[in-house]
């Protein structure tokens, strides 16, 4: 364990294998909560034994075998549970009753991560529960790490996770890939959960929050795995590209005091070119498959920004066209705000303000501070300083985020100083 590189390699391997092992155990024993305990025991055993005894020839088979043995111990200790499992098995069709040996090739070759992910993002769960369960069961993060990432006590997060498992059990969700008809809808839920995890990490990546578990990288890792399992799904690829193209800008996004730096003021030399190139490559391949969905469109917008060497080189007509398509695809009024900004960049601030006036008729966004923030930017560009200062201040009063509020207050203050 003295060699940090080796132990981090082990840790990486264990985190990759954990959902596959958990999936195999859940599929075999059909008890999610007990399976998770058993897999944790197996992972712990591996973390203790592998550094001294060396990596087994088949690490996944080793873990499945240890976890399965632990499950059998648990079942022996608990006769009631054993009877329930017998009843469960009896309720299964004959072909499903053939239980493969824990170390047989059938189990080893099958990657159950995807089925596990569908289960964790089950529609019976609230989004915050699905997020927590996914990070725990598929991401392999500890409850303490997840609690830390969401700034809640560990006991609270433990309750949230255990209730999610309970809810899945009660809802009768089966551990299986959804049917073809249900698949698209269920995959949308999975992608939404991964997107939320990414955003949670990205949004909080201001200086003050650097100690928080890096959820953005976890979301990218998980989405990369889903992309690996469903390489032909263009929206999975689109989401992965969107995450990469956004994350590449992270170093430039906040200043030394955690203050927000908007896209047009960012130091673009600090953007991660390697990550941008990967995102563009993934997106280009996805777009070639046709059927362009919302994640691909958002990734395409991010790519246009990322490809501009200077803010003034940004291809705004292209971004406006993409936002127009995105509005048709999603009916999200927040997209309308971005569309108004793009329109203001292409046709001048008056065009953007006219769109904002229309948007403020929409009850879903009327009175939202971001409407005021966008209006302030457009008014400033039009040279309407008094009105811009007032709009920035209104927006600052509505923001629920200190870095954003500070940014808006500073904009108002600087502009007022020029009067």
């Amino acid at each position: 364990m003295n060699d940090a590189r080796i132990s981090s390699e082990h840790e990486h391997l264990l985190r990759d294998l954990a959902p596959q092992v958990l999936g195999a155990i859940v599929r075999r024993f059909r008890d999610f909560a007990a399976a998770e305990d058993a897999v944790q025991d197996a992972l712990l055993a591996a973390a203790l034994q592998w550094p001294t005894e060396g990596l087994p020839d088949n690490p996944r088979g080793w873990l499945i075998q240890v976890a399965a043995r632990r499950m059998i111990d648990l079942a022996r200790q608990d006769m009631a549970r054993r009877r329930r499992e017998t009843a469960d098995v009896a309720a299964q069709p004959d072909h499903a009753q053939v239980v493969p040996a824990p170390d047989s090739g059938d189990v080893i070759e099958r990657d159950d991560t995807l089925a596990l992910l569908f289960m964790c993002c089950h529609p019976s769960l609230t989004t915050s529960s699905a997020v927590a369960l996914t990070l725990r069961a598929v991401g392999g993060l500890t409850t303490a790490e997840i609690a830390n990432a969401f700034l809640v006590p560990e006991a609270t997060m433990a309750q949230r996770i255990s209730r999610s498992k309970q809810r899945i059990k009660v809802s009768g969700a089966t551990f299986a890939l959804p049917t073809l008809e249900a698949r698209a809808e269920r995959l949308t839920a999975v992608l939404h959960v991964l997107y939320l995890i990414f955003n949670e990490g990205y949004a909080s990546s201001a200086a003050a929050d650097l100690i928080r578990t890096d959820l953005s990288h976890e979301a990218i890792r998980l989405t990369r795995r889903v992309h690996g399992m469903l390489p032909h799904d263009a929206e999975v690829a689109g989401l992965l590209a969107l995450m990469l193209l956004t994350d590449a800008r992270r170093p430039a996004r906040s200043g030394p005091n955690g203050e927000l730096i908007p896209l047009d003021e960012q130091d673009r030399s600090t953007w991660n070119r390697v990550v941008i190139d990967e995102g563009v490559t993934i997106l280009t391949a996805a777009l070639a498959r046709g059927a362009t969905g919302p994640y691909q469109l958002q990734a395409a917008i991010a790519a246009v920004h990322d490809e501009a060497a200077r803010a003034e080189d940004t291809d705004w007509p292209q971004i406006l066209a993409l936002y127009t398509l995105l509005m048709r695809a999603t009916d999200n009024p927040m997209v309308g705000l971005s569309h108004a900004i793009a329109s203001g960049m292409v046709y001048g601030p008056d065009a953007g303000i006219a769109l904002l006036d229309r948007l403020s008729q929409d009850d879903r966004v009327a009175g939202h501070y971001r409407l005021d923030a966008v209006r302030a930017h457009l008014l400033e560009r039009r040279g309407d300083r008094d009105a811009a200062v007032a709009a920035y201040r209104t927006a600052a009063g509505g923001s629920a985020s200190p870095p954003e509020r500070n940014y808006l207050l500073l904009k108002a203050s600087r502009l007022a100083g020029q009067l």
Binding site: T126, T127, S128, S129, A132, F150, L151, V152, P153, A155, T156, M157, A158, Q159, R160, I161, R163, N199, E200, Y202, A203, S204, A206, D209, T246, L260, P262, L263, Q298, I301, M334, V335, S338, R370, S399, A400, S401, P402, P403, E404, R405, Y407
Partner: protein, 133 residues
């Protein structure tokens, strides 16, 4: 999203009609109600933290002043009609869920089991900025 629920008790009558003047069973019912509420918040994975506060009689006011020094003034402060008796910070999915918890806390039983209907101030806890498009 996180919210703070601030429970205000009326200062007028704290000494004459406050919890100290209730019959024991009413006090027990009130404490039991609060414990049940906290247990439900904990078990639903909602509670971030929650505390009850010492009475306003022992409150102090500290205010730094120009030229140095920060004098300490003894409470209670007659100008305040209500005082903060306790708070919860909860992590929920919507403001509506926070309002529902506040409504439950507001109706905590008082003397004779009559709901106190205390004002509960609900404020969102500031969080990370939104992701730019």
């Amino acid at each position: 999203m996180k919210f703070i629920l601030m429970m205000h008790a009326p200062r007028q009558g704290w000494e004459t009609a406050g919890i100290g003047t209730w019959p024991p069973n009413d006090i027990k019912a009130h404490i039991g109600f609060m414990m049940d509420l906290n247990k439900d918040l904990r078990e639903s994975g909602t509670l971030v933290s929650g505390e009850g506060l010492d009475g306003p009689e022992r409150a102090k006011l500290v205010r730094a002043r120009a030229g140095g020094g920060a004098p300490i003034t003894d409470g209670p402060f007659p100008e305040t009609k209500e005082f903060l008796a306790g708070f919860w910070i909860i992590d929920v999915e919507s403001a509506e869920q926070a309002y529902a918890v506040a409504a439950r806390a507001s109706a905590a039983p008082g003397k004779g089991g009559v709901p106190l209907n205390m004002p509960i101030e609900v404020r969102q806890v500031m969080s990370a900025p939104p992701v730019e498009q």
